[in-house]
Amino acid sequence: MSQSGGHNGRITEAIPHITRNEALIFERSSAGKTGAEVAPLDVPPVEAPEVLGKDFYREDIDGFPEVSELEVIRHFTRLSTWNYGIDTGLYPLGSCTMKYNPRINEVVARLDGLATDHPYIPARLAQGCLGILAETARCVAEITGMDAVSLQPAAGAQGELTGLLMIRAYHEDRGERRKYILIPDSAHGTNPASVTTSGYEARSLKSNDRGCVDLAELERAMTPETAGLMLTNPNTLGIFEEQIREVCLRVHHRGGLVYMDGANMNALIGIARPGDFGVDVMHLNLHKTFSTPHGGGGPGSGPVAVKRKLEPYLPTPTIEETGDGFYKLNFDRPKSVGRVRAFYGNFGMAVRALAYMLAYGADGLRQVTEDAVLNANYLRARLSTAYDLAYDAPSMHECVFSDRRQAARGVRTGDIAKRLMDYGFHPYTVSFPLVVPGAMMIEPTESASKAELDAFVDALLAIAQEVKEHPEVVAGAPHSTRLSRLDEATAARKPILRWKPS
């Protein structure tokens, strides 16, 4: 990539400016350059292929970049400044709960005994770590109203799979071979995927006109072959399933179990407990609700919590108190679905989540929920003057609009989202949930201040005005980024998966 500057070519810029596009590291390569100098050989040379055998000897890689250490550092440092994260600005991605990750979590996770203990250390020498896991599990059980918890699953989707395998084990233990799991049509795509992976067949359940489970539809679909219902509450429209108790009762009445995707627990903590309204098994996302890093920032963690009747099927090992104040790992669990993750899951995430829960305490966690719901409803109230609400039901921690009004002028949700970048905000969730045409799904979390919410609303209101006056400005956005509209279709149809020497 050439970066020769203006001024009739008389001045050449030494480096590309930090806001400009960055060449690939391969394109910075010049033959013979190295990042490190090796001391001269002071022993007789040997031929590597002869010593290693040709199976273990790799030929030179064609086009491997030859660059200096400083070039490597600059390249990756520049790229790192392109990140957009919760530490740089509002991240209103609906359904993702992109909340602030308090630094105290990081301080605690880096404490010597926690950061450096090896997972192979015998249980008797790892009592502190086991105690943290047990305490985290206790807190999760208390918050969800469930009886037992496994912290093993490494992500929400793995929690889902683990929970579904437990449902399967439960039915099979009773000599029942059921085939289907019901999933509302507003569900997150991972739900049917987990169902299929677990060996069940997913059956879609049509929502009613309020965006919730339709009891008559449920009644029709709950056959003796139905293993259970998998739902998210509040659902992906940010609406609380008001008839959840009745829903759970009807599933139980037909011998089915209820799985709750805990992705939206940021609307319930300290207010309502899934275990109390009839859920049998659920997972939490520590990286959403409990402030551990999300996305590229760190590994996920998807603890799964169950009612007593599913406890025998929890992944092995479980952590148990021995009665004299010590903890042991119990591997003797004949009905367990087995281990789902090496060691005890992503331990560092349990540490951070526990730090978060203890720092806030019960009252603080309740306030987290209240603030998250208040923030979402503030956005909803201010934005509904310019954008159409998808459903009129009360919003919980997120709100979903439709681009209906803007689409009439040829501007769609994706265009509005791209225009938001010109105003300095990360886009909201685009075109999801699928049951809403042109969905704009916004979740501010409790982390956003009122001033920040106002700036965000002002940006969206300004964009709505632009749609009326200059729709082409919005339809062609973004205008301030290094690259504007990418050819997504060709990228997916004819992907270039790696750089090759030209």
Binding site: G189, G414, V430, S431, L434, V435, V436, P437, E488, A489, A492, R493
Partner: protein, 129 residues
């Protein structure tokens, strides 16, 4: 816009019945809602498809959608161009972008499907998306 000789489903598939066989595809409305199609998955010739059950999927840059079979029958042909050129579903959904041809098991299954006029009315009502 919507060919008179086709029949339509509420899930936005079309079917063109020709004696005992029929071609199936997705409608103009469906391709427009999905956006640029990047991948199409269709069943193999000889496999059975069931009315109202998924016969394959279309994947666009923003979503993956099931294609529900309007009828029960056996697949006798799949569009040979569609794997390499999924964009045909966008450019010509009612023609070159057809997905499969099936041999009908029960012709009467088509009776409950919508005519072009009924389908356009259905789209207008906005219950569809």
């Amino acid at each position: 816009m919507y060919p008179q000789e086709f029949l339509y489903t509420q899930d936005h598939e079309w079917i063109r019945v020709d004696g005992t066989t029929a071609s199936i595809g997705i409608t103009e409305h469906a391709q427009k809602e999905l956006g640029d199609i990047v991948f199409v998955e269709v069943p193999q010739v000889g496999s059975q498809v069931t009315r109202k059950e998924s016969l394959g999927t279309v994947e666009s840059v923003k979503a993956v959608a099931d294609v529900y079979s309007p009828v029960t029958g056996e697949v006798i042909a799949v569009n040979p161009k569609i794997q390499k050129a999924p964009e045909l579903v966008n450019t010509d959904p009612h023609g070159e972008g057809w997905l499969v041809r099936v041999r009908l098991k029960d012709r009467s299954e088509t009776e409950s499907l919508m005519t072009a006029d009924e389908y356009e009315e259905y789209l207008k009502k906005g219950s569809a998306h």
